[in-house]
Amino acid sequence: MTLQKKPASSHFPLYRLLVDGPGEIVVDLDGEQLAAHPHETVASVMLRHIDPSQYRRSAVSGEPRAPLCMMGVCFECLVEIDGQKNQQACFVRVRSGMTIRRQFPRGERQ
């Protein structure tokens, strides 16, 4: 069985905005464009756009993992941001044009 990153648009996200509105900025998640608001972090945007089972996989067990604490303690939200691996997505604010790559175990491509 190969573990594949599903596109962000095939989703049942965990969260939604209380007051929905068009996002002022756009970030790139594995080639898909996601709308976001400037005060959001990478983790909060991903939690409203993607299915939690598609967030990342553990480098040790290969099992799916997703953000747990949103306060910088659990390190379950790690993603690659603008080429820098293992960034805490809950602490990084989105910027226009930001490139986010989900971290799946080596060798698995979308």
Partner: protein, 465 residues
């Protein structure tokens, strides 16, 4: 490199109130906060333009005022303090990935609290989060659960979150409370002090009556909780007080079992600490002003022990006053005059805690009772059974256990497993948790790429030396 009178690590209620008082007395202050915005957990998002529109209560509304007063030069967001020397010299990494250092005359650690980690079966599945995470999603980003949310566990924050979600029109599907039935004797011993803080008491009772009127299913005195699902959480199962098993379908499961100090900075400095059996966590040892066992290094607020947000604000002010006295900005009389009121108010808050502690003891988080296949170290996938086996094979403390099992060696550096490890070793060996302690914390306080560390020459020299 800069050399302010005071460096504060942490921009929550403690750090903000300390910075306001210290600046007022003429001290130069710098502050490092790892988050993208100031406010910590309690006042997260309080500086957002939309914050005034959310129905999060009076206490939260004060946050905007606190943030406005604290605003000034030297407040750095997205700046992570990753190494602290015994003299207070602090290395940090900024949002651009550059390393810098600050050599303050005094250091105040104000790193707040974290969720008490909950190692139960199924807790690793996506779709399981802590209640505090959902609260941050609401406060900071104006986001609410999209599907069926089920709250599980014990503690004032769980009740508060349920009420906050209700008032936003995002009622949870169910709340499964694991809080045991309050013993009459426990209440009798802690109630008198609690009655001195009637606002807190009535706030708590108010939550319960608002929740009772809602359509949310509310199960109490639950036990035997576990979560099921294949590649994400699908249901939560528990046993009710009559011994009946129930399974509830859920998209988002929000766990909570109280909070514990976020104390990696004080631990890296090897500040003295003691086990607090009432709070079921370690407390950094501080004097009434907040000075730790290391002279010139202060710690205040929930990173020293769980005393609540009001006490945290008072402790920030009290520490700033003593720091100002030590540096000659005010004399002892002036310090005592200014500290009298915050000391009195803090004492009232502290006196309230035993009431909370006896009502909400740890339940889900009791790792001593975890089944052998329950994962304790999320990063390295170490189970309770592997820890028990390692202890029987001679790993007598958390540091030996690390080399036996890699438990605590992953990216979170033991933030999720240290308490559970201490509890399991204690139950296996019959020694006390306080005696066992937790593994040593070394710099860097979180994994950093070597290339980033090397960007600052003086920092790099320190590390090589």
């Amino acid at each position: 490199m800069s050399a302010p009178d005071l460096l504060i690590i942490g921009g929550g209620s403690t750090g903000l109130s300390a910075s306001i008082v210290a600046r007022e007395l003429g001290l130069s202050v710098e502050l490092l906060d790892e988050r993208p915005a100031l406010g910590g957990n309690y006042f997260a998002g309080a500086g957002n333009p939309s914050a005034g529109k959310t129905k999060l209560g009076e206490g939260y509304a004060q946050g905007a005022d606190l943030l406005r007063k604290a605003n000034g030069p030297g407040m750095r967001n997205g700046a992570f303090a990753w190494q602290i020397e015994p003299d207070g010299k602090t290395y940090f990494i900024d949002p651009a990935g550059k390393v810098g250092s600050i050599s303050p005359r005094r250091l105040l650690i104000a790193t707040g609290a974290q969720e008490r980690p909950v190692p139960i079966a199924g807790a690793l599945l996506p779709g399981v989060m802590y209640a505090g995470a959902a609260q941050l999603m609401l406060k900071t980003f104006g986001s609410i659960p999209a599907g069926r949310a089920v709250l599980v566990g014990s503690g004032p924050l769980l009740l508060l979150l349920a009420k906050q979600l209700l008032s936003q029109g995002a009622a949870p599907a169910a709340m499964i409370e694991t809080t045991p039935r309050a013993g009459l004797l426990m209440t009798a011993t802690s109630l008198p002090a609690a009655l001195k803080v009637p606002a807190l008491l009535s706030e708590g009772l108010g939550f319960r009556s608002a929740l009772k009127k809602s359509a949310m299913a509310w199960h109490r005195q639950a036990s035997g909780v576990f979560i099921s699902g294949r590649d994400k959480a699908q249901s939560v199962t528990f046993t009710d007080r009559h011994g009946q098993h129930h399974t509830i379908m859920a998209d988002l499961i929000l766990l909570h079992d109280g909070v514990i100090p976020n104390d990696h900075v004080a631990r890296q400095l090897k500040c003295k600490e003691t086990w607090n059996p009432g709070q079921h966590c370690f407390n950094t040892t501080v004097d009434q002003w907040g000075e730790t066992s290391r002279k010139g290094i202060f710690a205040a607020g929930d990173c020293t022990g769980i005393w609540g947000v009001e006490a945290a604000r008072m402790s920030g002010e009290i520490a700033a006053l003593e720091i100002a006295r030590q540096l000659g900005f005010i004399n002892a009389d002036e310090r005592d005059r200014r500290a009298a009121e915050p000391l009195r108010q803090r004492a009232r808050q502290v006196a309230f805690r035993p009431f909370v502690e006896t009502h909400f003891p740890p339940t889900l988080a009791r790792a001593a009772f975890a089944a052998n296949d329950t994962v304790i170290c999320r990063c390295e996938m170490v189970t309770a059974g592997e820890i028990r086996l390692a202890v029987r094979q001679g790993a007598s403390g958390p540091d030996q256990l690390k080399s036996f099992t890699r438990c605590g060696m992953g990216p979170c550096q033991g933030r999720s497993c240290a308490m559970a490890v201490a509890e399991i070793i204690a139950s296996e060996t019959g020694r006390s948790i306080g005696e066992i302690g937790r593994h040593d914390i070394r710099a860097p306080l979180k994994p950093l790429p070597l290339g980033q560390i090397a960007t600052a020459r003086d920092a790099a020299e320190e590390i090589v030396a």
